[in-house]
């Protein structure tokens, strides 16, 4: 991907192509009886499945948006979509480019001011899952979407927090979607925009409790290569590897030696129905999935 800022698939909006596969990076995965699928399609499907049983989801634009809509059509029919722009219970008739599109308003259950959205819905503890993307993430799920380099003299100026900082603190749990690379999965992030498990699970749990955060922090990281959850120490652990990906690829695109579950699962490939929904219904133009 050409620009680090493009990886910020935050709820505040991000480049649709950026958090997805780079042009031409068509996935090689091919499960038994399944059609070929792209890495982006695998990410979307994996993220959607993680939403099973969830009720209220704070939607970011790009991959989170399509993943959430796929979940509504498959594993989480009761899922309510909250957009930080103020729409609740949105039923978008098309996938919007920005999170403030008129299609998320027409036919929504409620449209409220941002004061109300952030105060009563998010800070009030009604959001079960918030999605974040990032330019950089560390092993503890701490996230940078502000700058690469020094804050005062940035090498690359990224979008900044938007709502990411308060989502990380107040959403009951946080899902991260981003492509792996040595530039983005780093030992040390340049700026902490959104807190994850801080320096480790124990201290993070204590601080969250003492400071009255409602959020438990990051619970899953879905990448183009696999699915990570967090171990008892609060570190990302590879729990499932996508079909076609290798542990070598995983290690080449991550700035630390990641924990790997034993046994390591293989992510079930997208089903024909999942692929049909993505290709025919959610993103017929392939804006997010090519």
């Amino acid at each position: 991907m050409s620009e680090p800022r493009g990886t910020a698939a935050s709820a505040a909006g991000a480049a649709p192509g950026a958090a997805g596969a780079a042009p031409g990076a068509v996935g090689s995965g091919l499960a038994q009886g399944a059609a070929a699928f792209s890495k982006s399609e695998m990410m979307i499907v994996a993220a959607a499945r993680e939403l099973a049983g969830q009720r209220v989801c704070f939607v970011g634009v790009g991959l989170p948006n399509i993943a959430v809509n796929l979940a509504r059509l498959t594993v989480a029919p009761e899922l309510e979509l909250v957009y930080e722009s103020g729409a609740y219970g949105a039923k978008p008739a098309r996938l919007p480019l920005s999170i403030g599109d008129p299609t998320i308003v027409t036919g929504a259950t409620a449209v409220v001011s941002m004061f109300e959205l952030f105060s009563f819905y998010l800070q009030g503890g009604l959001v079960d899952v918030g999605f974040l993307g990032a330019a950089q993430i560390d092993r503890f799920g701490n996230i940078n979407s502000t700058v690469i380099g020094e804050y005062e003299h940035p090498k690359t100026r990224l979008p900044g927090s938007g709502g990411a900082c308060e989502i990380a603190i107040n959403a009951r749990q946080v899902f991260v979607i981003m492509r792996q690379s040595k530039r983005s999965f780093v030992e040390r992030i340049d700026f902490r925009t959104s807190p994850g498990n801080l320096g480790g699970a124990e201290a993070a749990a204590r601080i969250r409790r003492e400071e009255g955060w409602l959020g438990r922090g990051p619970s899953v990281v879905v990448t183009d290569l696999g699915i990570y959850h967090f171990d008892d120490a609060g570190e990302m652990r590879l729990d499932s590897i996508h079909p076609g990906a290798t542990l070598e690829q995983i290690r080449e695109t991550i700035g630390w030696e990641p924990g790997v579950a034993e046994p390591l699962a293989t992510t079930p490939a997208p089903t024909p129905e999942e692929l049909r929904l993505i290709r025919e219904q959610l993103d017929p133009e392939g804006a997010y999935t090519k």
């Binding site: 620009e3 800022r5 493009g6 505040a12 909006g13 991000a14 480049a15 649709p16 950026a18 634009v61 790009g62 930080e84 722009s85 103020g86 919007p96 480019l97 920005s98 999170i99 403030g100 599109d101 008129p102 308003v105 027409t106 036919g107 449209v111 409220v112 001011s113 941002m114 004061f115 952030f118 105060s119 998010l122 800070q123 502000t146 804050y151 940035p154 690359t156 100026r157 990224l158 979008p159 900044g160 927090s161 938007g162 709502g163 990411a164 900082c165 308060e166 603190i169 107040n170 700026f191 902490r192 925009t193 959104s194 807190p195 801080l198 601080i207 400071e211 009255g212 955060w213 409602l214």
Partner: protein
Amino acid sequence: MSKVTSMRDAVAAFVHDGDVVAIEGFTHLICFAAGHEIIRQRKRDLTLARLTPDLIYDQMVAAGTARKLVFSWLGNPGVGGLHAIRRRVEDADPAPLELEEYSHFGMVGRYTAGASNLPFFPLRSYFETDLPKANPLIRPIRSPFGEETVYAVPPLKPDVTIVHAQRADADGNTQMWGLLGCQKEAAFAADRVIVVVEELVEESVIRADPNRTVFPGLIVDAVVVEPFGAHPSYVQGAYDRDNRFYRDWDAIAREASTTQAWLDEWVYGVTGRAEYVEKLGAERVAGLRPSGEAPSGSVDYGVYK
């Protein structure tokens, strides 16, 4: 008493060099027409406040109107970066640009404190992040009940807030629907308010549905009637977001020269919004109309005599 005036006169009268200016609207109802008029009148040294500077501030920064941004998310939503702003921030090209940075809720809280005459607004954000280090105006505050500490942001009181809306009456009583962003708070917080509307309506239309009123004429200084004034942003029920332009801007803004050429053609080169719309062409405009009507329905307030 009518406050209806032209965009030219409104900007000339109520936007001054050195002002803190807020053109608000969260993707919806962003008043590009006002931003372009500010560029044409060559206002200088503005501090531009907005949650999401968006294309309008990229254009205003490129045109040299601004010395500082106050914001929470700096990007072209769904597309990428704001290149004119990045040139000034990363390379001081052609001059540095001061940044004062919050989160979305922090900015909303700042407007709310400004509108409420509060010395601060408290929120549960910023814990364990680098944002309070980057911006010393984000400060911890201890609750007087128990041991809890949260964060506080200071009030933001723009010299002038500019709001685009579906409709207002001549006194400036303003109604909007769809995404409301934080326009209400930004307007009440401001010293002066310019309202730009798609449609000027009779006072009786406003009074028929008082719960729909976002703010009263009491706080409004000028009402400008400028249909399509939010393009390439959108107006719920009136026209769609012009995503094509948002994508096009990414290429236009990558170079200072192409950016200036665009400003020459589309801002300096037209006298105002009417000419801009004409230049845009009937076909493009027609293509942005909603494909059908989605009426809210009417409710009954009842007559009580």
